[in-house]
């Protein structure tokens, strides 16, 4: 008998990568648990001032 598959995902890390995975999966019909050690999401990118090569504001 095939095992029943669970439609939820655990994502460890709420930086730019974890958030993108979470958004894509939630928008595709899966329940997402996003685990983050810090008190807010954003990770390393939130600490950057501008990003190359467009010099866009990182926030």
């Amino acid at each position: 008998m095939p095992q029943k598959i669970t439609g939820s995902v655990l994502i460890i890390g709420g930086g730019v990568a974890g958030m993108q995975s979470a958004l894509d999966l939630a928008d595709s019909g899966y329940y997402v648990y996003l685990l983050e050690r810090a008190s807010s999401i954003g990770g390393g990118m939130a600490r950057l001032d501008k990003t190359f090569p467009t010099n866009d504001c990182s926030m």
């Binding site: 669970t6 995902v9 930086g15 894509d24 954003g42 001032d49 190359f52 090569p53």
Partner: protein, 904 residues
């Protein structure tokens, strides 16, 4: 946490000051804190290690002053058990800590800072509010040095043999931004080994920094940074271009620190039993770039290796695609569909307007007298309620807005804040949740268009804010609710291009439960990969490729159209109709989304005797000989690789990204075939980014000789009776060297195959180099600005197989997020025709870029124009072009615009 309204009283009252880790300890924060004003969730947290109550059992000041009783000292760690179908590891990186790195005296000399510290110094939310100051005396520096490869490409002072892949670009960016802050007189010098600007549009940025911004680039590994006696300045000794050791004084130095796996990440990998690489990142194979060594566990971002933001975002979507394929039978089993509350009908009712004026922290409030604007708004006609907020966009304010709408029975909302480009949809969602039509809304920008540009004239800025609010109120009073048309999304995808990218995208879409039409111009699948021998990780490409081709060819969900070309694309997101030519046969396919995977080509060189002497070949030609096991390769005495053939030159100012690694991989294979063979690689900068650096090290150990040349003094290849002769000016020796060669291999540029025609059919943009241009360089690398069209592989930019497949999976994931909605709403802001005024001149048809207007063929209005609301993007071109005044744009009616002008 639900009670905290982020008022900040707790932090104000907290007596304990500690280093602000978010700002790298450059300033202090309290023991109860939020990291930054836009933090999500915006809730204060107690730093237990520093809280006086937790350490000494007394204080509780925050609890005493908190107006909402949100402080809970009894909160403890809880163990939660979750039932999940898959795991994605994205725990990121830690910046390398250079404290143990003796010679640079980090933490001993205060004006030696790390890359991330300098990032905080430049930031407006940073320790010096964006003023460029050095830490020791808070003076503006006049000379700054960047020292590259600190904690990267170094096995002596740390065990990091890899390249961190992002530091060259962040150093250049920091130098350019520092010059923007401090003015042109600031002297910025970057000391580097190889300048690695291998990403899309990075090389242009590098050239601009060098030529236009005057950033100095000095190729020299810095041995030590010393403090200058009697001052806070520093001295850096280095070897200059003439080979002399010189010493230069700087006001501060930035160590371009690399990336490493965090201790937590290592622990996580250990407890999950995941294989790691030599550099202690998560291991993955080329054809399955986001799978870990354990089934059902995927990885993305810098957990997987040093990489930049776009690559992290691509890999993140790729991990979502792989997860989606694994769990597709359980899709929608645990999620709930969002149900909007019923809309309260508001047509014909007297306007009751609510105005919300935002401080945007200090962005607006620091210039404009926001309370005065709020009070002024309350005096305007039909305004029933007006208030001001520190951040109107914060989560708790949304709840307040929804509540006020109900309590005050408001039916129109004005938000005076930042730009609607980023925030309009948020406020509209709040309105929908409160039962209002989302078009009964007006946003006016008192930040970008007022406080930011009139910083020096606060009084006039306040008057301007009042004007803007008055106009918005006048407009919103005349707004009526608009309807959005809903259309079904066709559940089939069209993938254009049958190389590894196209095939990987098609396969994943099929695994996620969608049908795919795969169109390939050639007669068979495979693309460029058919000509490649080995990956940089040593995998046999032909074996893996054959597996991929086989799985795509036998997939019942994938229809393959070889020898075919797209000749027309009609329709719109969710409902495309594309015409395909296969020979003389024409076929129309209906589909909901498009994935562009058209790839790129190897440039045919026109230099170094290519095409004139058969001993001069390109990388792909050499790979073909490797695959055939050509016995003559063993007899070669001397092989010379020439890098950057056609790349990084004025006519093609980009780096082709893959050639350095490819050359080194091929050089190593030649050495395997004949260890006695002399192999030279003539290069400008070796760009073996990330863990590819190990291959570079391996090649040097294997005896491959690397000679650096300058683009002004390119190598010369000539032929004589017994062989080829290669002459090159060696930059590090400072003299010309020459060798006889039996084989010259050219690292020919990767060029777009002529994307103009397809780009026009798809209505998507190309960049200056002819590659497709993505929606956003950082956050939308696999999306197009045109909805429903996605991008992957070398159509986006030259890239190796692992990155192509990752982006193919990402494009698939992005496409699935759209198709999974099944229905799509079309904006209510569309043009409409008053047929009694229309003269049928057809100017609107000629001018519309989206083919929305057409002529009614039958009935009372035959010969008049009509607009298909599904195609209309609301740009207003037809409205302004209509000489009869028959066209109007919903939400921007003539009466509304005139009312705004009247108020001015």
């Amino acid at each position: 946490m639900d009670k905290c309204i982020a008022c900040g009283t707790c932090a104000e009252k907290c007596p304990r000051k500690v280093d602000d880790r978010f700002n790298e300890g450059l300033i202090k924060r309290k023991a109860i804190y939020v990291d930054y004003a836009q933090a999500v969730p915006l809730k204060y947290a107690i730093d237990k290690d520093n809280c006086i109550f937790f350490q000494k059992g007394k204080c509780r000041a925050c609890e005493k002053f908190c107006p909402t009783h949100a402080i809970n000292f009894e909160d403890t760690e809880k163990r939660i058990s979750l039932k999940i179908g898959a795991v994605i590891l994205a725990s990121g990186f830690t910046p390398y800590d250079p404290s143990p790195y003796g010679p640079y005296h980090y933490r001993k000399i205060p004006n030696v800072v790390t890359g991330i510290e300098f990032e905080r110094i430049l930031s407006a939310t940073g320790p010096y509010q964006g003023n460029l100051l050095r830490p020791s005396d808070h003076k503006e520096p006049g000379k700054i040095a960047w020292v590259q490869c600190v904690g990267s490409r170094d096995t002596h002072l740390c065990d990091h043999g890899y390249c961190s892949a992002v530091c060259c670009m962040y150093a250049i960016k920091q130098a350019v931004v520092a010059k923007e802050h401090a003015g042109k007189d600031l002297d910025c010098a970057i000391f580097y080994m190889d300048m690695r600007t291998h990403g899309k549009d990075f090389e242009r940025y590098f050239e601009r920094a060098k030529k236009k911004d005057g950033v100095r680039f000095i190729r020299s590994r810095i041995p030590t940074i010393e403090s200058l006696e009697g001052s806070d300045d520093l001295v850096i000794p280095y070897v200059n271009e003439s080979g002399e050791v010189v010493e230069e004084r700087f006001d501060m130095a930035v160590l371009s620190t690399g990336l490493e796996m965090s201790r937590d990440g290592l622990k996580l990998a250990g407890s999950l039993n995941i294989d790691l690489t030599e550099g202690r990142f998560c291991k993955a194979e080329t054809f399955t770039p986001v799978r870990t060594s354990r089934e059902g566990i995927f990885a993305c971002g810098t957990f997987q290796g040093p990489k930049d933001i776009p690559q992290s975002v691509i890999d993140a979507s790729a991990a979502a695609a792989e997860t989606g394929a694994l769990l597709s039978s359980a899709r929608n089993s645990l999620t709930t569909k969002k149900k909007a509350p019923e809309q309260r009908e508001k047509t014909g009712k007297r306007p009751r307007i609510g105005v919300f004026v935002c401080h945007c922290g200090l962005n607006i409030g620091g210039v404009v007298d926001v309370p005065a604007v709020r009070d002024y708004a309350a005096t305007l006609p039909f305004v029933e309620y007006s208030t001001d907020n520190l951040f109107t966009c914060s989560t708790d304010t949304q709840e307040v807005i929804a509540q006020v709408i109900k309590e005050k029975n408001l039916n129109r909302i004005v938000v005076a804040a930042c730009t609607p480009k980023t925030h309009e949809s948020l406020f509209q969602e709040t309105m929908v949740n409160a039962g209002l039509n989302k078009y009964l809304f007006e946003m006016t920008n008192i930040r970008n268009q007022d406080s930011w540009v009139h910083r020096d004239n606060p009084e006039e800025a306040t008057e301007k804010a009042k004007d803007l609010v008055r106009m918005a109120v006048a407009k919103v009073g005349l707004t009526s609710p608009l309807e959005e048309t809903e259309v079904d999304i066709n559940q089939r995808a069209l993938v254009i291009g049958g190389g590894v990218s196209g095939m990987a995208a098609a396969k994943n879409l099929s695994e996620q439960g969608y049908r795919v039409s795969l169109v390939e111009r050639a007669s068979s699948l495979g693309g460029n990969a058919l000509n490649l021998y080995r990956t940089w990780q040593g995998e046999n490409i032909q074996e893996k490729l054959a597996d991929l081709i086989n799985s795509v060819s036998t997939d019942p969900n994938i229809d393959i159209h070889p020898d075919s070309e797209i000749v027309a694309v009609d329709g719109f997101v969710g409902n495309f109709r594309s015409t395909i030519h296969t020979g003389k046969k024409e076929r129309v396919i209906e589909h909901g989304v498009i994935v562009v995977a058209t790839g790129a080509l190897e440039l045919e060189p026109d230099e170094y005797l290519y095409g004139k002497d058969s001993r001069v070949v390109t990388h792909l030609e050499l790979d073909a000989r490797f695959m055939k096991d050509d016995p003559s390769l063993k007899d070669i005495n001397t092989a010379v690789f020439i890098q950057c053939v056609g790349s990084r030159e004025p006519q093609r100012p980009y780096c082709s990204r893959v050639c350095c690694t490819h050359a080194i991989e091929s050089a190593l294979h030649l050495k395997e075939l004949n260890p006695e063979m002399k192999v030279y690689i003539l290069y400008r900068d070796i760009r073996t980014y990330g863990e590819r650096e190990y291959l570079y090290t391996k090649a040097r150990l294997a005896g491959v000789v690397f000679i650096q040349y300058s683009v002004d003094q390119k190598p010369a290849v000539s032929a004589n009776g017994d062989g080829l002769r290669v002459e090159v000016f060696d930059q590090s020796l400072g003299q010309s060297v020459e060798t006889r060669a039996d084989l010259v291999v050219l690292a020919s540029a990767i060029v777009p195959p002529g994307n103009e025609k397809l780009a026009q059919l798809l209505k998507v943009p190309l960049n200056e180099d002819g590659f497709y241009m993505e929606a956003h360089a950082k956050l939308g690398p696999s999306d197009f600005p045109t909805e429903g069209v996605f991008l992957c592989g070398m159509a986006h930019y030259p890239k190796p197989i692992d990155e192509s497949i990752a982006q193919a999976l990402a494009a698939s994931s992005r496409a699935v997020t759209l198709m999974a909605r099944e229905k799509i709403q079309v904006s209510g802001t569309v043009a409409y025709v008053n047929p009694s005024l229309c003269s049928g001149c057809q100017v609107c048809i000629a001018i519309c870029p989206y083919s929305a207007p057409s002529i009614v063929e039958e009935g009372p209005f035959a010969g008049k124009a009509e607009i298909n609301p599904v195609l209309c993007k609301g740009c207003g071109l037809c409205v302004t072009s209509c000489r009869s005044g028959a066209l109007n744009l919903r939400g921007f009616e003539e009466g509304q615009i005139l009312a705004m002008i009247d108020e001015l």
